[in-house]
Symmetry: C2
Subunit: 581 residues, 2 copies
């Protein structure tokens, strides 16, 4: 393609509202253009990347036996009422009424519609397994859209849904999708990690996130460099860091800690390691009547080691907290502990409190905790002697780098990642709500077992840039670059030789199926180079009169420190060797 | 592809709500599945056709120098308020509020958004001309969605927008799009006609509709078989059918015509040809104050020959009617004519009425018209003698087959058509409203001149089927068929020879790039043939043990009356010769 027939539009400065580097670079490279909060035009340069991403996804989904269809953007509310999501989902579900005042939604995903298709179309066990997918515009009315395509409101997603006879075959379907996702992300040329994820409220059996590695990622990815273990921080299992509880060696001592309400401050004041302190977090659960009034509230004290953080997802899986919890109010805290927050502990409670100790805390001895009296802590606290054994011992903390891997095969490391894909064994959640059954060999209706598999198509662009850029701009992997090769002729308008060589190389590469752009805009070399470094085209060839006189062109890979000279006759072979996709 | 890896779902009967043949056949062939009124899932079989249509459009748009981008489905209302369309458009514009109570629309087209892009991106005359297009989901909240994909609410449209310096260059852009559309529709393999269309309220310079010919089409297409003339019925020019006005030969005579209120009845009663009668239509226009109150109304009498029909679009272009008209009320008619409708005429009016005569009526003599007295008509009426010359003489009727072509090169014929494409020279309507200017050579801002160019992607499917089907099902042209060739092996599960031959032929055709489907579902031959005739695959090869013993396969084109035997060794060459796309 020639640049004059395309649309190149770069900016020197990113708009002020662009907060992250991928957003800034996509705006500057003319890939996207803001239309409203979280709503972008995909400009020609950006659309080329999207199409390449979609094309790789489509090929691998088809190869894995999934069948493409297309479900509508505007969907009737009825199906969403069948699963209850029409009411349960928050304002992120964009609801709209048509001219007849009937309710519709703008789809954020399509579980309901695909399940409706499946319950009509898949009637017999002979038709299973089946996996349908579509690549379609989605909308989520984020409260605070930001970061460009990373957290937009309108976006493109590939969502696939598998239907199976039972969990065993559904697991096969799940594994096939997992493998397809690995091929997809391999082909993108991105560094990524598939990590086990929490199955959350849906409570399916398996769930993995595909995370693109990037220092700026919102998610913490936990992995073991010496084994296969990988999970997101919500799920990664924290083992007890003490093999057994040590014997008590100190007396319980109430110590003044005026104004020191954090473990860090207390440890510093007392000259003790932070790992000797215990952090108190107070939650509450409410029992409600049928009319929704609170009948009874229970207060919970969750204890993690001073250097650890509570993992709310893990806490939310405990019996008694599963149905939902909240942080306790100051009034509730004072009522139960007789003390304001900052000096709380499990010793000398005024009213009954359910005490949950993290696995590590349960093994601690001679520890420091709040004395339930403002400006005082205890040192030398010991389970069984100074306070009762905890009601519950559980893994309720975030793991930290250096923790033993739960598979026993090394220690954990933590990376930042951007979630761009998710595979999930849904089970019968939707098929139960919507009565999606098939007839088994005996003619008996059985619920279909479902899986769902998403890839954030437009988010891939943001994640790829967060992973790979420099001070000059984007560095695309070959497979999803807007163009694989850019030809930069110098003085094409003045030199017939340059023009002829550039056009010939362009035509030859194009005939070979190379996605090549000839920059015939007539820009100065500096501006031309800056544009293509900003846009991030992985391979550049400069054609100049001086070079041609020596029979040479200049090649530079986007990651190369400097250009290298290549004989005119060798340049196609050179490019073919360098092109990975 | 193998059918077992795809999704084939046919129905014996169409659902009761499918009114037209294309809707019935698409439902029966499993191409679409209804989700709500005017909202369809595009099932795998239908999506394949859509993708082929899109792909042809994309190739030809790119070849014509248009650049693809993608504008959002959900668009902020602000831009639509700039052009006033947010308020002016009726309830077919789906309006929605986000969580912050801000107004958005679900796009029916994208003039506003593309003009917003253009006014930011196209700053200099050097950047013009430019043509941007996208292929995107659209929504129009039709009051009565029907006919499947012919008048759906959610649909896919390709819309392109050209930006030019002036009308001269915009006309070049328009003509390039016109030529691209001809290539696109040629490649689809559909019978179509490009017809001149009315430019309507927007009042641009040029407009053509691309109509797929089908007896069931909603539109009447006027054309001259012996010249290039083609226009839609709204625009097609009606010439005077009488070269000059004849001399009066009869006296004006009031004749009783009791109960005969139509020209047909009066002509029959009087034993005169219908072409001797004049039909009266009474319109009214209102002059309004700034507050919208009616200050003054004017009554108009429009006269067409008894066998002709009023063309309201043409009437709406007359001075005095341009700003809008309505049909007069019975009270207004009685007030001005002293008579109820059915017996009206221009002779002996009680109050001033503006009289508009069609070109043919203005040349008539000795004609029959209402006497402005219930149950009476005049015969022998003559302009100038019995009533004043008309205030206005104009073309205000629909042409009929057999009329002289306005280019003088033959007589007109009329066909039915389905509008699937529209090219329109918009002029500066949107650029003026949105102040979309570029700087000319002198640095002076000038309004961009726009064109817009649409193709109803999903509507193409309906139109193609309306044009081409039989009692067994759809007959797709090669280029947009879901599969080009279907291989039907008989007894594949029993015969290794059949299986081996079928798989070999499948693999060979696939390697040649032929879009082939191998039906490995194990259906009975009758059911298998019926399915593929219903789906409309253009080429079928049957592989059977009996045939293989004779070294032959059976080929049948979808339009062929019967199958023909082809030697196994020749079948690929035979197919290649038959395949048009």
């Amino acid at each position: 393609m020639k640049a004059s027939q395309f649309f190149v539009s770069t900016l020197k400065e990113a708009p002020a509202d662009a907060e992250v580097v991928s957003h800034k670079l996509m705006m500057r490279a003319g890939m996207i253009k803001r239309l409203g909060a979280g709503i972008y035009n995909y400009m020609p340069m950006g659309l080329r990347v999207i199409r390449k991403v979609e094309s790789i996804i489509r090929e691998e989904m088809n190869r894995a036996g999934a069948v493409e269809l297309l479900m509508p953007v505007v969907q009737p509310a009825e199906l969403w009422q069948e699963t209850g999501r029409f009411d349960k989902m928050g304002p992120e579900l964009l609801r709209v009424k048509d001219r007849h005042d009937r309710d519709f939604i703008i789809q954020p995903t399509s579980e309901e519609v695909i399940t409706d298709i499946a319950r009509q179309e898949l009637r017999s066990y002979k038709q299973l397994p089946k996996n349908f997918y579509h690549i379609q515009t989605k909308f989520r009315d984020e409260r605070r859209p930001r970061f460009g395509l990373m957290r937009g409101r309108e976006f493109t997603m590939k969502d696939a849904y598998s239907f199976d006879r039972d969990v065993a075959t559904a697991t096969v379907s799940y594994d096939a999708m997992f493998a397809a996702y690995q091929r997809i992300f391999d082909r993108f040329g991105l560094q990524y990690r598939a990590v086990a994820a929490d199955t959350g409220a849906i409570g399916g059996d398996r769930s993995h996130e595909f995370q693109v590695i990037a220092d700026t990622g919102e998610d913490a990815i936990v992995y073991c460099p010496t084994s296969d273990y990988a999970a997101n921080i919500e799920l990664a299992e924290g083992v007890a860091l003490l093999a057994a509880r040590g014997a008590a060696t100190q007396a319980l001592t109430k110590t003044p800690t005026p104004g020191k309400s954090t473990c860090e401050d207390v440890a510093a004041l007392l000259g003790l390691p932070l790992t000797q302190t215990v952090k108190s977090l107070v939650l509450a659960t409410d029992e409600k009547s049928e009319s929704g009034d609170i009948i009874k509230s229970t207060v919970w004290l969750l204890l993690v080691r001073g250097d650890h953080e509570l993992n709310e997802v893990k806490a939310g899986k405990l019996d008694g907290l599963k149905a939902g919890f909240r942080f306790a109010t100051v009034a509730e805290i004072e009522d139960h502990f007789g003390c304001k927050p900052g000096y709380l502990g499990a010793i000398g409670l005024k009213k009954p409190v359910k005490v949950v100790a993290d696995r590590t805390v349960a093994q601690m001895s001679d520890f420091v905790c709040g004395a339930n009296e403002a400006d005082f802590h205890f040192t030398g606290a010991n389970w069984g002697r100074d306070l009762p054994e905890p009601d519950v011992i559980a893994d309720i903390r975030n793991v930290v780098a250096g923790d033993p891997s739960p598979d026993g095969k090394g220690v954990l490391a933590i990376q930042r990642g951007i979630e761009v894909g998710h595979v999930f064994l849904l089970g019968t959640k939707y098929s139960k709500d919507m009565n999606a059954t098939y007839l088994d060999e005996t003619g008996k209706p059985q619920l279909m077992v479902m899986g769902c598999y998403g890839i954030g198509v437009t988010r891939i662009l943001g994640a790829a840039i967060e992973q790979s850029h420099d001070e000059r701009g984007i560095i695309w992997p070959d497979a999803i670059a807007p163009f694989s090769v850019v030809l930069c002729p110098i003085g094409m308008d003045r030199s017939e030789a340059v023009k002829e060589a550039a056009v010939r190389l362009h035509d030859e590469l194009q005939a070979l199926g190379v996605d090549v752009l000839l920059d015939d805009r007539g820009e100065r070399p500096g501006a031309m180079f800056a544009d293509w470094e900003l846009v991030g085209v992985p391979h550049r060839v400069v054609i100049s009169d001086r070079g041609l006189k020596e029979g040479q062109l200049e090649y530079q890979g986007r990651r190369d420190a400097e250009a290298s000279k290549v004989a005119v006759a060798d340049v196609v072979a050179h490019l073919k060797a360098r092109l990975k996709a």
